[in-house]
């Protein structure tokens, strides 16, 4: 049985009498420790899939099963790293992570253990040196790292990354991608990542799930990326498997399922 199962999920939104069907019949099974990317053109509903798994949105049809149990409502077992970091500006870096740690592990860990655990997770993303800074005092890449530390600190069963590197410049993005790969190989997390960057998807993922364009978007193709880990971006430049995967995704996105505005 799959670790996480998205089972016949569909969702429609109603606004002023008109109903828009955003997702139809989305099926996806993810094994424990897998890194799965969901890629598609903007507006296709890929973030909606993530929000349904997170429990922030309720599907109109179908449901999500985590370890065989139906998911209802959001919870720390499905931690989200939001696109724009979403750190609370009135708390320091440490307090932001601590808020999550204290909430999740109250009663399980002593105060000292919770403090150590916060520190440990900040060290994991190399942010312990800035623990007393406030979010506005650190760079965008650093904020995103703290967001990742906060999510990791919840010890989630599944980590949900919503375009985590989208707002970063190319160099910072590459650096952060390497860090996420390193964390994934060390901790073996199960990860779903939303992205619109083909290279990012191929480099990081075990599987790339490609979504068709909306309305009523669904999964068009599910591609396995058989590249050994650890992966080094420089060594993959001429790699045939890497290039094939990249070509397959590009072909899907730009030949078979072009963005609606471009196709018109």
């Amino acid at each position: 049985m799959a670790y996480l199962k998205i089972d016949h999920v569909g969702i429609s939104f109603q606004r002023g009498g008109t109903t828009t069907e955003v997702l139809r019949d989305v099926n996806l099974s993810i094994e424990k420790g897998e890194y799965v990317s969901i890629i598609g053109h903007s507006g296709c509903g890929k973030s909606t899939v993530l929000n349904i798994v997170a429990g922030l949105l309720e599907p109109s049809q179908g449901g999500v099963l985590l370890e065989g149990r139906a998911v209802s409502g959001p919870g720390p077992d499905r931690a989200v790293v939001f696109q724009n970091h979403s750190l609370l500006p009135w708390l320091t870096v440490r307090e932001n992570v601590e808020l999550a740690v204290n909430k999740v592990f109250r009663g399980q860990k002593s105060k000292a253990e919770r403090r150590d655990w916060t520190r440990h997770n900040l060290e994991l993303v190399h942010m312990a040196h800035a623990e007393n800074k406030r979010p506005h005092e650190i760079s965008g890449g650093m904020k995103q790292r703290v967001g990742i530390a906060r999510a990791l600190a919840m010890e989630p069963k599944i980590l949900l990354l919503d375009e985590p590197f989208g707002a970063l410049d190319a160099l910072t993005r590459a650096h952060l991608q390497d860090q996420v790969m390193e964390i994934h190989s060390r901790l073996g997390n199960t990860i779903i990542m939303i992205t619109h960057d083909v290279d990012e998807a191929v480099l990081l993922s075990d599987r790339i799930v490609m979504m068709t364009n909306g309305p009523a978007a669904t999964i068009g193709e599910d591609l396995r990326v058989d590249l050994a880990r650890p992966r080094k971006r420089l060594e993959l430049v001429g790699n045939a498997t890497y290039n094939d995967a990249r070509a397959a995704v590009l072909e899907f996105l730009y030949a078979r399922h072009r963005a609606p505005t471009l196709a018109a």
């Binding site: 922030l56 959001p74 720390p76 931690a79 724009n84 609370l88 009135w90 909430k103 999740v104």
Partner: protein, 300 residues
């Protein structure tokens, strides 16, 4: 605004005498005497104060010149000091009835503002939270509030006199009804503006309603709240003077009205200085509290 003024007013270092000795002895430690430091700080204060002091002096001289003619309807500054010397040097005088020192008049007004404004702060923030969180309450109450808030403060006074049959609670009610709207509206706007991301964080962490209130809603809304509280205190002070003119008794408003009826124009001018300074201090103190509570993120 204050900050930018400070930056502009920063002393530009003139050619410092120690620089010459440093040229002669490059390895000698730079001499920094207590005296030179004191001079430096003194210079800073002088450059900061120079502009406002000069401006005030200029305005006083202008006023003196304009009001010096024998046919002038208003007294000149020197005449004000001369005629109102008694009330200027005896602010703490305790007499009979309304014959009190200006300090006691201002205190009486401040007490009324204190009651009305505190009530307005609690009700305004409470209703603001309700309106911000509940779309239903917003739909129902917002149109009512939008109409009520446009009613001028003094228009409420006859009605409140009819209801309370006493000056004191009526004045407090007028203060309340004047200052509650900006507090209420700014609080509800602040709550509506809490980014969805923060709400999502709270959901993922499964914060309880109380935790959400203290950890997210209050810190996210306090800057807006203090904008409202600051506008509210300003309006309260505007309203109290007018209200007191009508209800009588001890208070700076009635003092001014009484001085007018006794043709003591100089006393009115002294009282206006008190009103202005106290209003300024009220505004500053609310701003300072806000600054303290928001760790500097609220507008100063």
């Amino acid at each position: 605004m204050v900050h930018s003024a400070r930056v502009v007013a920063l002393p530009t270092p003139k050619v410092a005498p120690p620089a010459q000795s440093a040229v002669l002895h490059p390895l000698a430690p730079k001499p920094v005497s207590v005296l030179s430091r004191a001079v430096h700080i003194g210079k800073g204060i002088v450059t900061q104060l120079a502009a406002p002091v000069l401006t005030i002096a200029f305005l006083l001289v202008l006023w003196q010149i304009l009001a010096s003619s024998p046919t002038s309807a208003l007294p000149s500054p020197l005449k004000v000091i001369d005629e109102s010397w008694e009330i200027i040097i005896h602010p703490f005088k305790v007499g009979n009835g309304i014959d009190q020192g200006l300090f006691w008049h201002v205190t009486a007004s401040l007490v009324r503002v204190g009651y009305g404004y505190t009530l307005a702060a609690f009700v305004g923030i409470g209703l603001g939270v309700l309106l911000g969180q509940s779309t239903l309450a917003m739909r129902g109450l917002d149109p009512v509030f939008q109409v009520l808030r446009t009613i001028p403060p003094l228009a409420w006074l006859p009605l409140s006199l009819a209801a309370f049959r006493d000056g004191q609670p009526s004045a407090i009610f007028v203060i309340f009804i004047t200052s509650v709207w900006p507090i209420l509206i700014n609080t509800s706007v602040g709550i509506r503006n809490i980014p969805q991301d923060y709400r999502n964080v709270a959901k993922v962490l499964r914060l309880s309603p109380i935790e959400f209130f203290t950890r997210i809603m209050v810190p996210a809304t306090v800057p807006h709240m203090f904008t409202g509280l600051r506008i509210g205190i300003g309006l309260s002070w505007l309203a109290i003077v007018a209200a007191e003119m009508l209800i009588g008794g001890v208070g700076i408003g009635f003092f001014i009205w009484d001085a007018w009826n006794s043709s003591l124009i100089s006393d009115i001018i002294v009282a206006l200085v008190y009103v202005g300074v106290v209003g300024f201090l009220l505004d500053r103190s609310i701003a300072a509290i806000g600054h303290l509570l928001t760790r500097g993120t609220a507008a100063q």
